[in-house]
Amino acid sequence: MSSLMALPMHETGGIPVVDPSAADGAFGLLWLIVALPALGAFVLLAVAPFARGAIDRWGHLLGAALPVGSFLVSLLLFFQLLGRDAEDRQVSQHLWTWFEAGGLKVGFDLLYDPLSALFLLLITGVGSLIHIYSIGYMEHDPRRRRFFGYLNLFVAAMLVLVLSGNFLGLFLGWEGVGLASYLLIGFWQHKDSAAAAAKKAFIVNRVGDIGLSMGISLMFATFGTTDFSTISHVASGASDTTLTILGLLLLLAACGKSAQVPLQSWLLDAMEGPTPVSALIHAATMVTAGVYLIVRSNFIFELAPHAQTAVVVVATVTLLWGAIIGCAKDDIKKALAGSTMSQIGYMMLGAGLGVAGYAFAIFHLLTHGFFKANMFLGAGSVMHGMDDDVDMRHYGALQKAMPVTFLTFAMGYLAIIGFPGFSGFWSKDKIIETALADSWLVGLLAMLGAGITGFYMTRLMLMTFFTKKRWEKGVHPHESPSVMTVPLIVLAALSVLGGLMLAGDWIVEFLAPVTGTAEHEEPPIPALGVTAMVVVVVAIGVATAWYLVGKRDVPRTAPTDVSFATRAARADLYGDAINDSVVVKPGGALVNTLVAIDKVGVDGVVENGSLGISGIGMILRRTQNGYVRSYALSLLGGALLVVLALLAVNLA
């Protein structure tokens, strides 16, 4: 560290640097947060198969208890952190040296600062609730123990991702959550669609992961290290081009993990996984890892304005893309998935706006974590009552049959559309406000996205809980058990109250040591005016939905003679078709060409070469005739060869 302290501070140009102090006191427990769920995963996945089913009986309880333990430790450390001064809120814990190779020394270091503190609370808090909910949801699944093992594995990996003190550790967590996501999407692997969705998610994520691994390699090549702390000190020394490339590579990584255009296609299919998985991984935590990556790498992005612009463009396209898809889906989970994509677009937009937006990106990430997990679990509760039917055209009028689910879902609904006072209102409004200050166009598009959000969420709400009964025969909706409704109630409360984090600009100031402090910019129109506009736009969206869905009868099968826009949205805006024609088909052609070259060229050389060598071998073999006399002759010849070689070289 001492060498770092010697670096002139003005070089960093106002961007906060990562400069943690060593962990002491209660912060020594930091490792425990990761270790608890990791232990759970180990017991449930590696030990249990040898226990002949003994662990199956209580494995789910263990799996649910350990994240709760992590949450309690996180909470303790959070209050410890609050007790410190703002500039003293970075703590690092060196566990061991992971590996050393040449000039690269990578430690297994944990970094605890305001950013990771908030993430810890989100991951372990929402994670614990979803674990508890899963006890009920997965009650009749014969592989429940394994499910909890995977969930614990996910939580452990996600915690590594947000706690690591260097990019390589982050990458370890990044791959770990990718693995867990793969395993959980394909958890019902007997369904072909689930297996295919898992594969798709894994492969699309590969593309993003290439970006991250290349980015880390470039960091090592440029800075000689992968530590956040060192890089944040010396980043300004790199050339603009390098920084821009780094930013773009990190953006590619974020696109893969956070399902941003053009790597968005996997998220809708990922809904094949059990609903708690969709809530935890594909709504609240993993898919926001891309936002975390960009906010964490602020010391790169602040110096790479072109990369930031790219982030804003990607984010704006995605927030509309996801919202439009959400309008046309009849599958309740896919509609929510489109909405997730869109909301992550808002977060990315915030992150792309730089210092002014980082804190709001994280704020929206947290509130979204609450209300989207709430709604996914609510959707799961509805499916639970509807015999696992996901088609909203078979729902309707459920508000009486499932009152708790309805009420909690409504809280999430009001939060996501940005109903004044609810958590989503505060966080989304702030992002739109900041975007407007940055660029008129982006701000207006973000506002348009808010209106569409109002439309599709109202449509979902109406089709599910209001309108007429369109139930399948033999379906008797009923309220879910309390092990499922209690987490819903907690999350609903958080959805309502999450906005309190903005009270007195608390979250902005809390995150300032990580994200920096923005100079106050006067928006082109007063903040209150922006808020009013957003509310009006959302109201228009809601009203449109009311007229198009609420006032008419919803047909039980989706009508086919619909406009082009609807057809496009139903087909995920042709995301798969685009992938197919831009990547898959040319890729297939390339592979076929390579196979042909391999067959003719490489195999030809190898096969003919081996034939030639065999021929030479057959000829040489004749010298091996078994007669000692000819062996002796060859020995004599060899002696001559050796002596002549010696003489020829030396006396020539």
Binding site: I613, R621, Q624, L635, G637, L641, V642, L646, L647, V649
Partner: protein
């Protein structure tokens, strides 16, 4: 000669040699005085115990070696200059004794032949006669003392300080091996033919060696390697005499390691000899002979290395190319391993010719000696293990070494086939096996000495050879056997199975963490002059 000087012997440092020799002589006495039915137990216990004892002595000696020049070399020039106990010699002693221990265990195996050893009941009985049938239940327990004598010769060979000792060691190691080769219980005519061929050609090449000794004595006026080195440095006399003598000496040594064009005996002898003998011989003889070769060329002729390195280039390239090319045409597992041994001789020579002056090495760079010592360890372990596996695959007529009989082995004996595949991958030099690190080490030292043509040929012939090793794996795992043709695996006793298991483990471990052994070879330092 002036006054008579009473010879002094460093008993402590030379103790491993004495112990092996003593055990060998004791074995002869046992053969004479212990009743036949107890001999197997007594002899095998004596041999195994003796080798273990000697290993302990070697470790004791190694720990007490005197350092010279900050650890650049360590050891003593003992026995009036005739035996040099230095780091490389002690490393090779340890290696040879480990191979000797494995050899003892394989010799003592009696489960494969149904209660008798793999050696002829009575070597003097003519094949196919009544006398042979009567001797069917007997064992030749002389093989243990013979093995100990061979071990003694092998240990003396790389430690010899003058040419005469080197010649004596050469003969001491060779004669027991000639005998051992002719003692197979099955296919006795083939075995006896192999022994005779080995003997005749061996004697022929020893003649060359002795002639070379005479010429070098004529050049330098001394048998002592250090004195020869001085003469070479001072360019004392007729250069031609030196070169011809050098060539003659190398014929004797290259014959022992089976380099092309002195390889002709290798396939026939490897195939004809009892497999236990082949296993021991292939590993230990190579280690000893390469040790002696390096001592001769590094110590006596090291100052003149530019004159012999091109010759080594030629031999190394020939060995690798011819070994790999004929390897590809083989359809018998034992002959295949023999040609593999020839190709590997070429690879070791690639390391040997990588000699560089002390000043040319950068800090921490591998020395050629270190690389060759490591290679000898890795190759010896893999080859010994592979031959040991060959002894398990049998039919009613003994070992079934035709490759076609091995088809389908992977299906009915996956463990044996898997271990054999591991040894083959090590011989091919696939990463994560010891063979890869060994090849990398010798290529690295050859490259840094400027022998890039040899390295290129080495890499290409590795590719060719790898093709065939993989082909064998394919036959074992993916070919269906001809009906009634599949050989079966006989379950060995703990003697053979432990040898194979340790060999397989070492092959894996040296591939993943080669550091300790590479370091050990480095700590051994340079030859002492």
């Amino acid at each position: 000669m002036d006054d008579f000087v009473k010879p002094t012997l460093e008993y402590a440092e030379l103790s491993p040699l004495f112990i092996v020799f003593g055990i060998a002589c004791l074995g002869v006495l046992v053969e004479a005085f212990v009743p036949r039915k107890h001999r197997y137990l007594v002899q095998s216990t004596l041999a195994i115990g003796g080798v273990v004892l000697t290993l302990a002595a070697v470790i004791a000696v190694a720990n007490r070696l005197k350092e010279h020049g900050d650890g650049a070399a360590r050891g003593i020039v003992g026995s009036m200059g005739t035996v040099v106990v230095d780091g490389p010699a002690v490393f090779l002693w340890g290696l040879i004794l480990l191979f000797g221990l494995a050899g003892c265990l394989l010799f003592a195996e009696r489960q494969l032949e149904g209660g008798v050893s793999a050696f002829a009941g009575q070597a003097a009985a003519l094949p196919g006669t009544e006398a042979e049938r009567q001797a069917a239940g007997l064992d030749h327990t002389e093989v243990y003392p013979l093995l100990m004598f061979a071990l003694m010769g092998m240990m003396l060979f790389p430690a010899s300080g003058d040419l005469l000792t080197m010649f004596v060691a050469l003969e001491v190691l060779s004669l027991p091996l000639y005998l051992l080769c002719g003692l197979a219980r099955r296919r006795r005519l083939l075995s006896q033919e192999a022994a005779l061929k080995y003997f005749v050609l061996g004697a022929f090449s020893s003649g060359f060696f002795l002639y070379g000794v005479a010429l070098i004595y004529g050049y330098a006026g001394s048998m002592n390697l250090g004195a020869i080195n001085d003469a070479v440095r001072n360019d004392a006399s007729n250069q031609t005499l030196l070169l011809i003598g050098m060539g003659m000496l190398s014929v004797g040594l290259l014959f022992k390691v089976g380099a092309v064009p002195f390889q002709a005996w290798t396939p026939d002898v490897y195939q004809g000899a009892p497999t236990a003998v082949t296993a021991f011989m292939s590993a230990a003889t190579k280690a000893a002979a390469f040790g002696a070769m390096m001592r001769l060329f590094y110590v006596a002729f090291g100052a003149d290395r530019w004159s012999w390195q091109p010759m080594m280039w030629v031999i190394a390239i020939l060995s690798m190319v011819v070994g790999a090319a004929i390897l590809v045409t083989q359809r018998d597992v034992k002959r295949m391993l023999a040609y593999s041994a020839i190709a590997h001789t070429g690879f070791v020579l690639t390391g040997v010719l990588g000699l560089e002056g002390a000043g040319e090495l950068t800090d921490g760079q591998l020395t050629s000696l270190q690389a060759v010592l490591f290679y000898l360890a890795t190759y010896g372990i893999a080859a010994l293990g592979a031959f040991a596996v060959v002894s398990l695959v049998r039919d009613s007529a003994g070992e079934a070494s035709a490759l076609s009989r091995w088809a389908g082995l992977g299906k009915h004996s996956p463990l044996v086939a898997g271990v054999f595949a591991l040894f083959l991958l090590a011989l091919a030099g696939i990463p994560l096996t010891s063979g890869f690190i060994g090849k990398w080490a010798v290529f690295e030292v050859a490259m840094s000495s400027g022998a890039w043509p040899v390295v290129i040929v080495g890499v290409l012939s590795s590719v060719v050879a790898a093709y065939f090793y993989v082909y064998v794996i394919v036959v074992m795992f993916f070919h269906d056997p001809e009906p009634e043709q599949a050989a079966y695996v006989v379950h060995p006793s703990v003697l053979t199975s432990s040898t194979i298991a340790v060999g397989a483990a070492a092959t894996l471990v040296l591939g993943v963490i080669p550091g300790p052994v590479l370091n050990l070879a480095g700590v051994a330092g340079q030859f002492l002059r």
